[in-house]
Amino acid sequence: MLTEYAFWFLTFVAIFSAMGMILSKNPVYSVLSLIVTFFAIAGHYFLLNAQFLAAVHIIVYAGAIMVLFLYVIMMLNLNKVDEEKRSIWSKAAAAASFGILLLVVSAAIGHGHAQSELQSVADTSAIGTTETLGLSLYKEFLIPFEISSVLFLAAMVGAVYLSKKEQYN
C-alpha cells in the first residue's frame, strides 16, 4: 500500500518536474527541475529493488553530468534575451521527429515485454542488488560490457583531443 502511494507520488514529481524543465524560460531552472526528475526516477528504481541502479543514477546523472550542464549554462550566462528565435518549421520538425521516436519506443516496450513479465521482474527482491548485477555483467554479458567500455574509451580520447587542439594553433 505504501509502495503504491510512493509510486504515485514519484510519478507526479517526475512528470511535473520534467514539464517544468521544458517549460521554464530560465535555463538554470530547467537544469534544476531535470535534477528533480532524476531523483524521482531513482526513487522508481528503488521501488523496483534496483538499489545499485538508483545510486549510480544519482551519482552519474545528478552528481556529475548535470553539474557539467550547470557549468556551461552559468559560464555562458544564458538569459531569456539571448535565446535564439527558432522558425516555425524547425519547431514542427522537432515535434514530428520526437513524436515518431515516442511511437517507436512505446511500440518496442509494448511488444518486448508482456505485462506479466514486468510484474515478475518487480517481485523478485534480489534482482537489482550489486552482487547480482555484477555477476550477470561480468559473466553473462562480459563481451557487450567490454565493447561498451571500449566505446567509452574512444569517447574519452576524442574529448581529450578536442580540448588539446586549441593549444597547438
Binding site: 538554470v28 534544476l32 535534477i35 538499489q51 545499485f52 545510486a55 549510480v56 544519482i58 551519482i59 545528478a62 552528481g63 556529475a64 553539474v67 550547470l70 557549468y71 552559468m74 559560464m75 542488488t129 550489486t130
Partner: protein, 350 residues
Amino acid sequence: MPIEILLFKLLLCGIIFVVSLGVAAYATWGERKFAAVLQDRVGPSRAGPFGLLQPIADGVKMFMKEEMLPNKSNKFLFILGPSLFMLTACMVSTVIPWGGDLTLGGVTYNLQITDINIGILYMFGVVSLGIYGIMIGGWASNNKYSLLGALRASSQMISYEIAMGLSIIALVMMTGTLSLREIVEQQNAGVSYVVYQPLGFLIFLICAFAETNRAPFDLAECETELVGGYHTEYSSMKLGLFLFAEYINMFISSAVMVSLYFGGYNFPFQTEIAEALGLSANGLTIIQTLIFFGKIVGFILFFMWVRWTLPRFRYDQLMSLGWKVLLPLALVNIFITGIVMWALGLIGNN
C-alpha cells in the same frame, strides 16, 4: 517495523543531528584554540572558562547580523544554495554505524539510522550533490567573484571525487560489501583495514581534505584573488550555514574514515577487556560509541593540525595533484589489490 524501533530511530535522528551541530560548533572553538597553541597565543578566553561559550556567542552574532539580499540576485536560488549545502552535509550521517546493539526491555536497537546495503554508494551520491549548494549559491549571488569561487570549489570537488571513489573500490574488493556496518563488523576481530590498504587510506585522506575545502586545499576561499569566495555576497546566518556546514563535513568525513579504515567503534582487545571488567553488552556498546567519538575527535584534530602547519597549494598544483598523481595511484592501488587477492586465492576461484 515495530513502533518502538521506529520511535528509537526518530530519536536517534534527532540525537545525531544535535550531536553533529554540537561537534561542529565546538570544532570552531577547537580550531581557534589549536591555532592559538601553534602560534603561541591564548586564543578565545573571554566568554566563559577557557572561552568555552565562544561558539554560542558566535552563533548569536551570526543571527543578529543584518540580513542582506543582493539587489539583482535570484532570491529563491540565493536562499536555496546554503540550505542545500547544509542538508547534504547532514545527510551522510544516516548510514554511519555509531555503535553496536543496545538491548532495552527485550528489544534490540541498532545504533545506526539505516543499514542500507549500498551505504558507500549512498555516501558518494550525497557527496556529489553537495556541489549544487555551492554552485547555486555562487551563481545566484550575481557576482563574478562569487561565480569564480563556486566554479573553483565545484571543479575541485568533482576532480577529487574520482580519486576518492577509486580508492574505495580497492577496499570494497576486500570487504565484498557496500554496507558500512558490515565493513565495521569485519574489523572487530582482526586488524583494521588501514593495515591492508595504506595507500588507499592515504588517497582517501587527501581527497577528504579537498572535498571539505580544508587547507591546504582551501582554494575556494581566497581573499587576494576572489575578494571572498563563493559566499562573498552572503551575510548573517546564511553565511553561517556555509561556514558551519564545512565543519559538519569535517566531522562526518572523519567518521567515515574511522569506520572504513580504523575499525569504527571497535577497539583492540574489546572482548577481553569487557570480560575482565564484567561489562554487560549494553555497557560495551556505550564504551564502543565513546571510543568511536574519540577516534573522530582525533581525526578532527589532525585536520586542524594540517591546516595550521602546511601552506596552501596553487590552483593548478591542486588540479594536477588530483588528476596526475592521485588518480593513477588509485588505479595502481586497485591493480595491486587485485593481484595480491588473486595470488592469495581470494578471488578467481569460481
